[in-house]
């Protein structure tokens, strides 16, 4: 395999064709090549979840996936999901509940929480904690995050 290759994909709805190093991870590609710095690099070995992004609608660890694997894929990051207004209610609940402090885990935390609420409209607190179990937050102690996600689950359910 050559050291470089070309990939074509959509990122936050925009078509992107880039020449990449074969070894570059998805999150490094997004941050360094596309300047989408909202996805963060916390551990680079798949534990902390700060690099969480969506590929073809599924949340993945941007540090464990190669950019080369995303040829032809639909990639969405916190920037795109925010601008699309998809998680405005979650962001509002996080703000009201102070469910972030330093904010470094927050993009990954929001995408993971949204992923849960898409599949389960009324998760228990235990279920919320379980679904967020791969997202490390050193600041909050998690309770405020669980509260915020629970609040949004209730308001989204009420609207359905």
């Amino acid at each position: 395999m050559s050291e470089r290759l070309d990939i074509t994909l959509t990122v936050n709805g925009e078509p992107v064709t880039e020449r990449i190093e074969a070894r570059i991870s998805l999150v490094d590609f997004l941050r360094e090549q596309l300047a989408l710095t909202g996805s963060h690099v916390g551990c680079e070995h798949g534990v902390c979840g700060a690099c969480t992004v969506r590929v073809d609608g599924v949340i993945v660890r941007g540090c464990l996936m190669l950019a080369a694997q995303c040829d032809g894929c639909r990639v969405e990051t916190i920037e795109g999901v925010s601008d699309a207004g998809e998680i405005t209610d979650l962001q509002s609940a996080f703000e009201t509940r102070n469910a972030l402090q330093c904010g470094f885990c927050t993009p990954g935390m929001l995408l993971t929480a949204h992923d849960l609420l898409e599949s389960d409209s009324a998760p228990s607190r235990e279920k919320i904690r379980e679904h967020l179990s791969g997202n490390y937050c050193r600041c909050t102690g998690y309770q405020a995050i669980v509260d915020a996600v629970e609040t949004v689950a209730m308001t989204r359910s009420a609207k359905r």
């Binding site: 996805s39 920037e79 402090q101 993009p107 379980e130 998690y142 995050i145």
Partner: protein, 798 residues
């Protein structure tokens, strides 16, 4: 004193018309962070920026015989390969000592190791390349010839004659020793009906900030200025240190701190690789970026809390404590960390043991020793978790020995709330504490008697639950007594500059910094209230040494109590100046006017007179219409430093309710409570979330976190898969309550709140575990982290 639970405190003199004191306003910086629009240092890129990666020692102790860089220099993308010989021409070494820690010694530490590497992970060569990946690739081609030396890893034998001395110039491996005696401990133990004596071990652990340490240094040789983007808690301190060690004037250095991905005390120290990055920028005349990866974070971010404490307590049958004694030993790595030293943690342990209690017979010894492991230094709640665990385990072990309820034991020994000002057993001074009110409050909050009944019922069914407590005191709002008197240029005072813009909004520039605690919101709340505008009219500027008043930054729970008071005073002063202008315009006496919600009003009636936008318009654009001789001053600066007390001690109590599985040794946390007294609560939500986050950080220490070294000084679990941190499923919900005893040292009366949770949680959790295991006849567990293995050993099952 008054009680409150997650709600604003009652109205006080601080409540001006549109007061934000005591209100949970949201933080202004959250929007950008939630949208991925923050600016962390790891996001910063500059034109011509190069990346540095470091070749690090694989050995705990080894002589560097040769460094062959020839192959690395030819590697793809490489700009330079720099060894200590070259780098030491632009940066001088440092020694981490303070004069008020009498006798503390350390050896010169270099940005890149010279001759000898003293811990696994110490940088020995820098590779600078176009990308980080290329720099790391080229590191593989740097060939170091090592002569491995014997590693000093066991703190227990570090001072023995046959143990090699790490720094020959120092003569031995002793960094510092402190001895302290109050009262007559020997008589106290003689008078006791029971003496409990045991040994505590607190496992070495570290901060694991979600964003690793990051720095971009940009030497502009045209301007002769160094701009440093750094994720630091103390921009002005770092400005001073960069200048000092690169032979620059302070005004030639600008430190910019934008968003910081967690700090917890990790990012308030001098790191060799960060100093090297700044020196490399000067050497190469271009921006250089260094971001620690997670693996190098584990071997270079400061570690903390590696202590062995032999301790005893004397107690009478009536529960009164008669004496305390501790012998603390701690291994801090090969260097005392600059500039705060690695002696402060042990010093705090001596200061704080027995702190909440009346017993004044106390003997303490603390010895701090060098070893060939990563350095240790101040981490969130410095020394408090250790001292609190020792004190509170002694109290509960003594209570169990004499058959007394642990809360009753505390009621009989905690310093009475009406006995202040008072002095702790080590001589620490308390202005006003509320131990008994806090205890009564938590007793009610958790329904203690009800829980005891539930616990007894469940035991009959073979379910083992435990209740544990920890009373604590916490050092906040430090005066110059912490560092300044010891010769470190670490500012205890802080300033705020308030400026009225041309439309009636206020800019507040502050020396304190933000890493997520909410300092930006608190500064805005104080300034908005004191001045008299809606909070969305206040913009806070922080984290830039070119554009903020000189200050200490954010550490030791000082941002709200010290920075907040400076902002309060600046807001008041700006109000006076604006009212002087309003008086001139309205032909009224300024003292008859006030500012309410952005409008100048009659003080007595509240009748609106003129908007701030109009005052600003006249002052800035039609000063010709003002009376002759009148000059408006719409920029004011005020500073604040605590003077009456060396520290504003806070206090509180925590309780843990948990279940232990005697077959597997697993601990399930069911509920946690904390009642704390941080004086005036400026923003109840932010205080509560500081407490919750702090508690969970303390739970990490109690149950999971441990930097495990082997006897050769190799860190065995330096990654996030093997080093366990608290994650969401295992954490309990935490209820927070408050007692409010303002400090009289400031008008606001706010004390710090950032470390109370971390201070009390380990002692409280381990007490609950022992409470659960007691009916099973287990040996008391006195070492953290309490792993399932440790529980099974205590039960004699393995």
């Amino acid at each position: 004193m008054k009680l409150s639970d997650d709600v604003p405190s009652a109205l006080t003199a601080l409540d001006r018309p549109n007061s934000y004191i005591g209100r949970s306003v949201p933080r202004p910086n959250m929007g950008r962070l939630m949208q991925g629009r923050g600016q962390y240092v790891s996001d910063v890129t500059l034109p011509r920026m190069a990346h540095v990666a470091f070749v690090r020692s694989p050995h705990a102790h080894a002589r560097i015989q040769a460094v062959d860089t020839s192959a690395a220099r030819k590697a793809k993308g490489v700009i330079a390969v720099v060894t200590s010989a070259e780098l030491s021409k632009v940066i001088t070494p440092w020694v981490g000592v303070l004069t008020h820690l009498k006798g503390i010694k350390s050896a010169p530490q270099h940005a890149i190791a010279i001759d000898v590497a003293c811990w696994q992970g110490e940088a020995v060569c820098a590779v600078i390349a176009r990308t980080r990946a290329e720099a790391e690739d080229a590191c593989e081609h740097v060939h170091v010839t090592w002569e491995e030396l014997p590693a000093v890893t066991d703190m227990e034998t570090a001072l023995e004659a046959e143990t090699p001395v790490i720094h020959a110039s120092l003569g031995d491996n002793l960094t510092w020793e402190r001895n302290h005696v109050t009262g007559d401990p020997d008589k106290g133990f003689k008078d006791a009906d029971a003496v409990v004596e045991t040994t505590f071990i607190t496992g070495r652990h570290t901060g694991v900030c979600n964003e690793p340490r990051a720095i971009v240094a940009d030497w502009n040789s045209g301007e002769q200025r160094m701009t440093v983007y750094q994720g630091t808690q103390a921009p002005h301190m770092m400005q001073n240190l960069f200048a000092k060690h690169l032979a620059l004037e302070e005004h030639q250095v600008r430190v910019i701190t934008k968003d910081v991905g967690g700090s917890f005390g990790i990012k308030v120290h001098t790191y060799a690789d960060e100093m090297a990055t700044v020196a490399l920028s000067k050497l190469l005349k271009r921006p250089v970026k260094f971001v620690a990866d997670r693996l190098e974070s584990f071997v270079t971010d400061i570690h903390a809390r590696d202590h062995r404490i032999k301790a005893k307590i004397g107690v009478k049958k009536d529960g009164s404590i008669t004496a305390w004694e501790i012998d603390d030993l701690t291994g801090i790595g090969p260097y005392s960390v600059y500039p705060r030293t690695s002696g402060i943690e042990a010093n705090q342990v001596v200061n704080l043991v027995g702190g909440p209690y009346t017993c004044q017979n106390y003997r303490a010894r603390a010895r701090v020793v060098f070893q060939n492991k990563n350095v240790m230094c101040q981490y969130r709640a410095v020394g408090h978790p250790i001292a609190t665990q020792v004190t509170e385990q002694l109290v509960e072990l003594a209570a169990a020995r004499i058959g007394m309820d642990p809360l009753e034991m505390r009621r009989r020994n905690l310093i009475p709330d009406d006995a202040h000002p008072s002095v702790g057993p080590s001589g620490i001074k308390f202005e006003a504490l509320s131990h008994h009110a806090a205890l009564a409050h938590i007793d009610a909050m958790m329904n203690y008697s009800g829980l005891r009944i539930e616990q007894a019922k469940l035991r009959d069914k073979g379910i083992y639950r435990g209740i544990g407590f920890a009373s604590f005191v916490e050092v906040t709002n430090p005066s110059a007594a912490f560092y300044g008197v010891g010769g470190a240029r670490i500012s205890a005072q802080d300033g705020a500059t308030a400026r009225l813009d041309s439309t009636g909004a206020v800019f507040v520039h502050t020396g304190v910094s933000e890493q997520g605690q909410g300092a930006e919101a608190v500064i805005a709340q104080c300034a908005a209230t004191a001045f008299g505008v809606a909070i969305d009219k206040v913009r806070v500027i922080m984290g830039d040494t070119d554009n903020t008043p000189y200050g200490g930054g954010t550490w030791a729970s000082r941002a709200a109590g010290i920075g907040g008071e400076a902002a309060w005073q600046a807001g008041k002063a700006l109000r006076q100046n604006v009212l002087a202008a309003a008086g001139a315009i309205l032909q009224a006496k300024p003292e008859t006017l006030d500012i309410n919600n952005g409008v100048v009003v009659d003080r007595l009636t509240g009748n609106e007179r003129v908007g701030l936008d109009e005052i600003a318009r006249v002052v800035y654009f039609r000063p010709d219409t003002l009376p002759p001789g009148f000059q408006a001053e719409f920029v004011v600066t005020r500073h604040y430093v605590p003077r009456a007390w060396p520290f504003a001690f806070t206090n509180g109590i925590q309780a843990s309710w948990l279940e232990v599985d005697p077959d597997t040794g697993f601990v399930k946390l069911l509920k946690h409570w904390c009642v704390e007294d941080c004086g005036t609560v400026i923003n109840p939500q932010l205080v509560d979330e500081q407490v919750r986050g702090g508690v969970v950080q303390g739970i990490g220490a109690a149950l999971y976190e441990h930097c495990v070294y082997d006897e050769r000084g190799q860190l065995l679990n330096g990654n996030m898969a093997d080093y366990l941190v608290p994650m969401a499923p295992e954490m309990p919900d935490i209820e927070v309550g408050h007692v409010v005893t303002p400090t009289a040292d400031s008008e606001l009366g706010a004390k710090g709140a950032g470390e109370a949770g971390t201070a009390g949680a380990p002692g409280c959790v381990i007490n609950a575990i022992n409470d659960a295991l007691r009916p099973l006849g287990a040996e008391p567990i006195t070492a953290i982290p309490v792993t399932p293995d440790a529980v099974l050993r205590a039960l004699g099952k393995i």
